[in-house]
Structure formats: structure tokens, C-alpha cells
């Protein structure tokens, strides 16, 4: 089992290696693009969001009634001749299974894929007992031959090339093997058939354990699980307690989503329901019946089930979609994005099952783009949980120095804002009068040299406000601007452009001076206490203003103000205020498009070719898709960009923690922008402007990167 997760430097080194692995990069890139299109196609014929909601509800119910379902399952399964066990931890489960093997005089075991078995390192435990264990899922078998762990929950060997597989198969068969994939698959067919025939015991995982009738199910494409559960005389099922589910209908709902999400299939080749110890005519089974055992694994699950927030991780059906859509996974692969469990859920499960040290390093590697939450079969709030783990680890073990420092500064708005002004003054010698810091020596920038860093504005927006505040007679709406740090201190011109548009269209605009950072960067660093302080300060700043809306030009601020505050203030006295505050938050594009109803007639349409990047939080958290695109088309010539809704790699503090990954994501984005031939790129978020403009500048691209408000202000009639 790989384990680079013991030190931060080791982890970064492994990430660099992964980034240099051309094969891995190409494979994951191709997969990410084709998966997205194929997934969309197969979800067209079902109600995706409706089914996901059903799965979430069914799994939530099961989680809250775990004991009841366990008893019911046990009774029903025993009625049908199955032995049911319950293991409190990994060691006990391994012991149980080894004992079953011994009692039945088992020598050889075949296994079909089970992430739960990986969780408890079952193979190692059984091999220690002198048992021969063979994986039979092709991908699992390949990585077993290589003594590696899976790099994806559904496609465990996705990191390997046909050449590597051919070498491994050459070794295991003692014959030179061709690199033709169709041939290699047949090598496995031959080799593994022999193992199926020789085995005395089969071990399978289980996707669902149905309480109402004591059935277990497997979902496979290869058909190996059917053979594992049919050929040998003994069958052991290993299932986490979270696999329990109340009834059949819920399973039928879930299997409409699981394969679609996993591999963009409507259904896998085989979906099997084993209800009881059925017929088995293998030698040694006197009564012609299978010897069947189900071992339920607790391993902390009953405790997690009591956690008001984290209990939702049991909605996971291990479809792997959270890895499939993750821009970080796409770059670095599964071994760098999980320990046993892979992808977004892997970051979280590592904390619960495989130690806080590994989790501390891993849980940093999420950019917060929301792609995973957007597709998850169980509707799990994945990035939120990852942030929560950062907060918990900091609370349990103390936080790293950057976080503590940031907290110290942010707690006090005046001090923070004075520091920002001072920083503006002190970086001036490096800007050469442009918007970029040009002269900071590369030594200081190190890995951060992939983009030009912006300079702070000479005068923040808050200091300009008294001069530019417009006076609007008989306003249609009264709104307050929430600036966010980036626009207040780096890009005040974006806010000025917005104010121009709003005032021209009869909107009264206010700018409450007591507002401060939205607090998302603190959340990203796990600084929960200060992030709550900051949230309360902001709500107080807008209190009593009686605004129709609070408009923000930053998609990330918008999503944090709108949803994040209710999450972090859940259960406190401020919860209600957080909800009504959130209800007023709106992003700039939606406000001018949906609320003000700006139309083509409001603009002098320019002939400029303008392309778009959809900020993560705008398209996936706020679910805004049409408004900005229509606005661009009203004001200029809109040219769509390839992978428009894929992250730009910024992620706030993420780009500072993982510059090597951020840079690669950015590069891909800029390649796509270049292909459009557009001379201008607009976005709905100053963070994305910073990332994209910096990257474009560094590459010397002839493309102007702006906030969409600037495009609209320029072309307004």
C-alpha cells in the first residue's frame, strides 16, 4: 500500500511525480471529458435530482435506524440459512473471516471487489493466516499483482497503461504477453477461471443489504461477483453497517443512479440479488446448499451515525463520481487523492478510518469547486464536510501558523483593513505602475511564479465610496453592495463598473462601511471560530438597512454569504438571521438579468469577441447558468469556450497551498480560452479574474480578462 501521506513534503513530492506522469495525465484528461458528456446523456432519461433525493432520504432513514435494520436483516437472512456476524472493528472482522475459512477447511479464496475489504486490509490479514487470496475483478487483480492499492473506487487500475499490465501478466503467466488490450483481458479470463474453479471460498462486497428480506446485492460488469458467489462452496459477504437499507424499492432507485454515475451506464452488465443461502452443488457441501456468511463491519460507523453533520457520509454508494468530476483528481490521480477510499469522499473517510495524520494532509487538497457535490449519488455536501474536517483537526490538534495568523488579523476588521492599505503602499515599488507585481524576485515566488500576482489598488473601493456614491431619484430597488476583499482592495474598478450599471438603471446603491471579508478563506483554513466572528460582523453591518437585495460581484462570497453562514451558524442564536440575510444575497449577473431585466436594447452591442468562464460557485452553488451568457451576448459577440464550467484552479487559499496543481488547471483553462479566438474573457468573480488574468499575462496572451460588470458598463446605452 502506498503511503506518501505521512509528511507534507512527501505528499508534494508525490504530487509532482503524478503531474509529470504523461500517461496518467492523458488518461484522466480524456476520461474527464468523455465521462462528462456520457454521464449527461444517460441521465437524460431519468429524473436525476429526484432520484438523488430519494437515495439521500432512504440512506438517512437507514442511518438513523441502523440497529433496527440490522436486527431485521439478521432475522430474515437467518431464516434463509445465512449466518450473520457483526464486527466492531477491522481486527475483529478480519478474525471472523479467517475463522470462517478455518472452520470450513478453506485453502483458496477468490474475491470480488469490496472497498470495505480494502478499508480493513483483509487480504493482508488472510494471507498472514496462510490463505491464498486472489482478486478477480480485472483491475483489482492487476493492482494485487503489483502490490498497490486502488486508484479509483470503480476503476482501480486507471493509473496503469497496457504496457505495465502486459509486463505484469508476462510475469504471472511466465509467457511473453502482447500489449493488445483485448488479448490482455482474455489472459485474465483464462488465469482467473482457474482460480474460480480451485477456490473453496468466495468473498464479495455488497452494495446494499436489504433489511426486509435479508438479501445482499452486487453490481458488476465483468460478472466476477456472480462467479465468486456461485462457484466456491463457501460465500462470505463483507458489508459496512452503512450498506443496510430498508426495502427493495430503495435499491431499485439507487441502481438507476449508481451505474450512471460510476461509468455512465444505464445499468451494469450484472446486478445480482442474493437472498439466502441458495443451491450449491460443489463437492463438500453435503446438503447441496451454499455455506453463506454475512459479516457486518462497524469500525466506527455507529459513532459516525450519531454525528449530526457527518452522518450524511452514509449516503455514499461508492459510485466514484466525486472523483470522476474532480479537477484535482483529474490531475494527480487517486493515489494522491485518498488513502483507501478515493476522491472527494476519500478525503473525508480517511479522517474516520485511516488516521488523522493522513487526513490532515489529504483534506487540504480540495479546491472547493463543488463539482463533486453537484453529482454525488447521495447528495452529500462533500466540500463542506472537507472544510469541516479542517476545522475539527484544527480544534483537536491546533492549527498551522498561517491559519492562526490569518485569524488573528481577520478578527479585527480595522486592523485587517489597515494592513491591506499598508500592503498596498509597501508593494508599490514592485508594480512598475501596472496592475501586476512584476519585480518580486522569483525566489520569493517559488512555485507561485506561474501567474503574475496582482498589485493592490492605490485606493480601495471603501475610500472612494463617498465620492462615487450615486444619487438615484425614485429608485426601483434599494440594494447594498457586498464588496469582498479582492474587489475592495485589488479591483475597485469592477465595483465602480457595477455601480455605474445599477445607478443608470434606477437602482439605489449603498455600501455599508462595517462590512469585512466574507470569511470563506478562514473556512478554507479551518478557522471556524474567527469565521463565525466575521459572519456576525457582516450581518451586523447590513442590519437595519432594509435593502431589497444585497448584491455581490464575487461568486464565492455570494455562495458563502448565502449558504455558508447558515451552515456555520446552525444551532446558534444567529441562525435565523443568517437565513434571512442569505435570502437577500444575489450575484450581480442574476440581479441585472433576472431582477432588473436588462435586454439587448439596453446595450450598444459591440463586435468584440468575448468568451466566458463560469465560476465554480456561480454555476454549481448558486446554479446560475443562463444570465451571464445572455448578458454577454447582449453586449458583445459571445463565443462559448470548451469546458466553460470547469474550475480555473484558483480556489482562494488553495492556489497558495497547491500552486503546482492550481497552475496546471489554469493552463488547461487558458488553452481552451485561446482556442476560442476571443479577445476578451469575462467572469463573475474577482478570484477567477486574478487567476486568469495573472495566467494570461504570464503567457503573454492577447486576451483581456475582466469582470462581466466591466463589459456591461462599457457597452451600456
Amino acid at each position: 500500500m502506498h503511503d506518501a501521506l505521512v509528511s507534507k513534503s512527501g505528499y508534494h513530492k508525490e504530487i509532482d511525480q503524478a503531474l509529470d506522469d504523461d500517461f496518467l495525465r492523458r488518461t484522466l484528461d480524456t476520461f474527464a471529458v468523455s465521462y462528462r458528456a456520457n454521464r449527461e446523456a444517460v441521465f437524460k432519461d431519468v429524473d436525476e435530482k429526484g432520484l438523488i433525493k430519494k437515495i439521500a432520504d432512504a440512506k438517512d432513514y437507514a442511518c438513523q435506524h441502523m440497529e433496527e435494520l440490522y436486527s431485521k436483516f439478521k432475522a430474515e437472512a437467518e431464516k434463509r440459512g445465512v449466518h450473520v456476524h457483526r464486527a466492531k472493528d477491522a481486527a475483529e472482522a478480519n478474525r471472523n473471516i479467517a475463522d470462517i475459512a478455518k472452520q470450513n477447511n478453506v485453502k483458496r479464496i477468490v474475491k470480488s471487489k469490496s472497498m470495505t475489504a480494502e478499508e480493513i486490509h483483509l487480504n493482508t490479514a488472510l494471507e498472514k493466516e496462510g490463505l491464498i487470496v486472489d482478486e478477480t475483478d480485472l483491475g483489482e487483480w492487476i493492482i494485487q499483482l503489483r502490490h498497490e492499492g486502488p486508484s479509483h473506487m470503480v476503476m482501480p487500475a486507471i493509473h496503469l497503461s497496457r504496457y505495465q499490465v502486459a509486463d505484469d501478466f508476462t510475469k504471472v503467466t511466465g509467457e511473453k504477453q502482447d500489449t493488445d488490450i483485448q488479448r490482455l483481458v482474455k489472459v485474465a479470463r483464462v488465469q482467473l477461471r482457474r482460480k474460480f474453479i480451485a477456490a473453496d471460498m468466495g468473498i464479495s462486497g455488497c452494495n446494499f443489504a436489504i433489511a426486509e428480506n435479508g438479501a445482499v446485492t452486487t453490481v458488476t460488469n465483468e460478472g466476477n461477483a456472480r462467479m465468486v458467489t456461485t462457484l466456491p462452496r463457501v460465500h462470505v459477504v463483507l458489508a459496512g453497517l452503512d450498506k443496510l437499507i430498508t426495502k427493495l424499492e430503495e435499491v431499485l432507485d439507487a441502481v438507476q443512479v449508481l451505474p450512471r454515475n460510476a461509468t455512465a451506464q444505464r445499468l451494469t452488465s450484472y446486478f445480482t440479488l442474493m437472498c439466502g443461502a441458495g443451491q450449491c452443488q460443489a463437492e463438500g457441501n453435503d446438503n447441496g446448499r451454499k455455506i453463506m456468511h454475512v459479516v457486518f463491519l462497524d469500525n466506527g460507523r455507529t459513532e459516525i451515525a450519531k454525528d449530526p453533520l457527518f452522518k450524511q457520509i452514509f449516503r455514499c454508494v461508492r459510485c466514484g463520481a466525486c472523483a470522476n468530476v474532480c479537477p484535482v483528481f483529474r490531475l494527480v490521480g487517486g493515489h494522491k487523492m485518498g488513502y483507501v477510499y478515493i476522491g472527494s469522499i476519500g478525503l473525508i473517510l480517511t479522517y474516520f478510518f485511516h488516521g488523522h495524520d493522513r487526513a490532515r494532509i489529504l483534506c487540504q487538497n480540495c479546491i472547493g469547486c463543488e463539482s463533486c457535490a453537484n453529482v454525488c449519488s447521495g447528495g452529500i455536501e462533500l466540500p463542506r464536510l472537507t472544510r469541516e474536517i479542517r476545522a475539527r483537526l484544527n480544534a483537536e490538534e491546533g492549527s498551522p501558523i498561517e491559519g492562526t495568523l490569518m485569524s488573528a488579523v481577520m478578527k479585527n476588521r480595522k486592523m485587517f483593513h489597515n494592513l491591506m492599505k499598508f500592503a498596498s503602499f509597501s508593494t508599490k515599488p514592485f508594480t512598475g505602475g501596472t496592475q501586476f507585481i512584476r519585480h518580486l524576485p522569483m525566489a520569493v515566488l517559488g512555485k507561485h511564479g506561474y501567474k503574475a500576482l496582482p498589485a493592490l489598488a492605490s485606493k480601495p473601493f471603501r475610500d472612494k465610496w463617498s465620492q462615487i456614491a450615486p444619487h438615484v431619484q425614485n429608485p426601483k430597488f434599494r440594494v447594498a453592495l457586498f464588496a469582498g476583499c479582492a474587489q475592495d482592495f485589488i479591483y475597485p474598478e469592477q465595483l465602480e463598473a457595477a455601480v455605474k450599471v445599477l445607478a443608470a438603471k434606477g437602482v439605489a446603491v449603498d455600501f455599508p462601511m462595517e462590512q469585512t471579508c466574507c470569511g470563506l478563506p478562514l473556512e478554507m483554513m479551518g478557522q471556524r471560530k474567527t469565521s463565525i466572528d466575521v459572519a456576525n460582523q457582516n450581518m451586523a453591518a447590513f442590519r437595519g438597512g432594509n435593502y431589497d437585495y444585497i448584491v455581490t460581484l464575487c461568486a464565492s462570497c455570494a455562495s458563502h454569504l448565502k449558504f455558508g453562514y447558515s451552515e456555520i451558524l446552525d444551532g446558534t442564536a444567529s441562525m435565523l438571521e443568517a437565513q434571512s440575510f442569505g435570502a437577500k444575497i444575489i450575484d450581480f449577473s442574476s440581479f441585472v438579468h433576472d431582477v432588473l431585466g436588462l435586454k439587448p436594447e439596453d446595450f450598444n452591442k459591440s463586435a468584440q469577441k468575448v468568451t466566458y468562464h463560469a465560476s465554480c460557485h456561480l454555476c454549481r452553488k448558486l446554479n446560475v447558468h443562463e444570465a451571464p451568457r445572455e448578458l454577454i451576448a447582449d453586449a458583445a459577440e459571445y463565443v462559448p469556450c470548451e469546458e466553460e464550467e470547469v474550475c480555473c484552479g484558483f480556489g482562494g487559499t488553495y492556489s497558495a497551498k497547491f500552486p503546482e496543481i492550481s497552475a496546471q488547471i489554469l493552463n488547461k483553462k487558458l488553452d481552451h480560452v485561446k482556442e476560442t479566438g476571443a479577445s476578451r474573457l469575462v467572469v463573475d468573480c474577482p478570484g477567477c479574474v486574478m487567476q486568469l488574468r495573472g495566467g494570461a499575462e504570464k503567457r503573454g496572451m492577447q486576451v483581456k480578462v475582466d469582470h462581466i460588470a466591466q463589459l456591461l458598463a462599457e457597452n451600456l446605452k
Binding site: 434463509r80 480485472l138 483464462v190 474460480f196 426486509e212 427493495l248 445499468l267 452488465s269
Partner: protein, 208 residues
């Protein structure tokens, strides 16, 4: 959906996952189809030791092939089986109704009866409680399922009650939903069929 639409939707979805779908008028024609398929295929490879079995030349995977082809049809009604067995005999094929476990190293054709079909995904639900039935669908190079057109349902939720009935009586059951042949994309995401189970799946749609 009308019955005809269900049949069309089922066929389209099944073909989309590489199943061969064939409409035939009668059981006799279906059985003839089975015999033809077996006659036209290369003899099955013997993937593992099978003492006492006569071995032919090496097949595509460098394994010896069967000299006598094997068809297993454990689920057929007695008179249908008799008919199939007779045609097989004429062709020199071994036709099995039980004892499939003796031939785990691979047979040519397995014939099964689908209990019902699911149009949304081109899926057949098979009662595989009987071990011979289960095995013949796993270790055959070509799996043939017979499905009555009148038993095609729109989607998974619409068959929930039938499935529950099957599983609710306290007797062990083993139910398999089959959607296309055995497949994998575990090496470089390249699709390949026939990793463990059948290399081909044929679905014969029967009039009632």
C-alpha cells in the same frame, strides 16, 4: 408505452450495450436459432484442466478447444428440451440439462429463460436460483436468453412488486439482472467484452 413501443425501446437499449436481439415467431424457431448459433461459432476454449475431455487445436487464447461442443439449457420445459437435445444430437453437440458444474472450464452456449425484461436499460431479469441455470449463463461463451415480449416492463420501479414476491417467501433465491455481455474497461478505459462471463449475449424475443 404500448406493447410495441416497449419491445422497440427494449431492443434499442439492449443493442446499445452490444446484445444481439432477435425476434422469432415460435419456440421451435428459437431452438433452431440456438442450434445455428452453436453450429456457427468456433468451438469453446477449455480454460482449465478437465480430465477425460477430448481436446482440439488451440483457440485464440492459446487454450485447447472442445472437440464436442456443449449447449446447456437447464431451464427449458421438458418437451422443448427434448426438441433441442434432438437437434443438438444431429449436429454432434452435447446438450445438458444438469451437471453443468462438470464443465466449468467453459461451454459453448448457455440457454436461459428471462422472467421479464426492462425496457429502460435493455435488461433481462433471470431467475437463477438453480445452480445449473446460473452456471450456464456464466461459463458459456455465448449466452442466449429467451424473453416473452409480453413480459417487458418500462423500468425498474415498475417491476418492484414482482421482484419482492420472488424474494419474500423465506426460501433462498438468487436473482440476476443481465444487461449485455460481460464487459470491462479496466485497462486504459478501453471497452472489452467477455472478461469472465459470456463473450456474446443474444436475446430472443418470443411472441406469446
Amino acid at each position: 408505452m404500448t406493447p410495441q413501443e416497449l419491445v422497440e425501446a427494449f431492443s434499442a437499449k439492449a443493442q446499445a450495450v452490444n446484445a444481439v436481439v432477435q425476434e422469432v415467431p415460435t419456440m421451435a424457431a428459437a431452438l433452431q436459432y440456438v442450434v445455428d448459433v452453436c453450429a456457427n461459432k468456433a468451438p469453446a476454449e477449455i480454460l482449465a484442466d478437465e480430465p477425460g475431455t477430448e481436446k482440439g487445436p488451440l483457440g485464440p487464447n492459446k487454450q485447447p478447444t472442445r472437440v464436442q461442443k456443449i449447449v446447456a439449457a437447464p431451464q427449458l420445459a421438458e418437451e422443448d428440451f427434448a426438441l433441442l437435445a434432438k437437434s443438438c444430437e444431429e449436429k454432434g453437440f452435447l446438450c445438458l440439462r444438469e451437471g453443468v458444474r462438470k464443465y466449468l472450464s467453459g461451454i459453448d452456449v448457455g440457454v436461459g429463460l428471462a422472467e421479464l425484461g426492462v425496457a429502460a436499460s435493455g435488461t433481462c431479469l433471470c431467475n437463477t436460483d438453480n445452480e445449473d441455470v446460473r452456471l450456464s449463463g456464466m461459463i458459456s461463451e455465448i449466452s442466449i436468453l429467451l424473453l416473452k415480449k409480453s413480459t417487458i416492463y418500462p423500468d425498474l420501479p415498475s417491476i418492484a412488486d414482482k421482484l419482492r414476491d420472488r424474494m419474500g417467501h423465506g426460501e433462498p433465491t438468487y436473482t440476476t439482472f443481465i444487461t449485455g455481455p460481460s464487459r470491462t474497461a479496466d485497462i486504459e478505459r478501453v471497452a472489452a467484452v467477455g472478461v469472465h462471463g459470456p463473450l456474446e449475449l443474444h436475446i430472443i424475443l418470443l411472441e406469446d
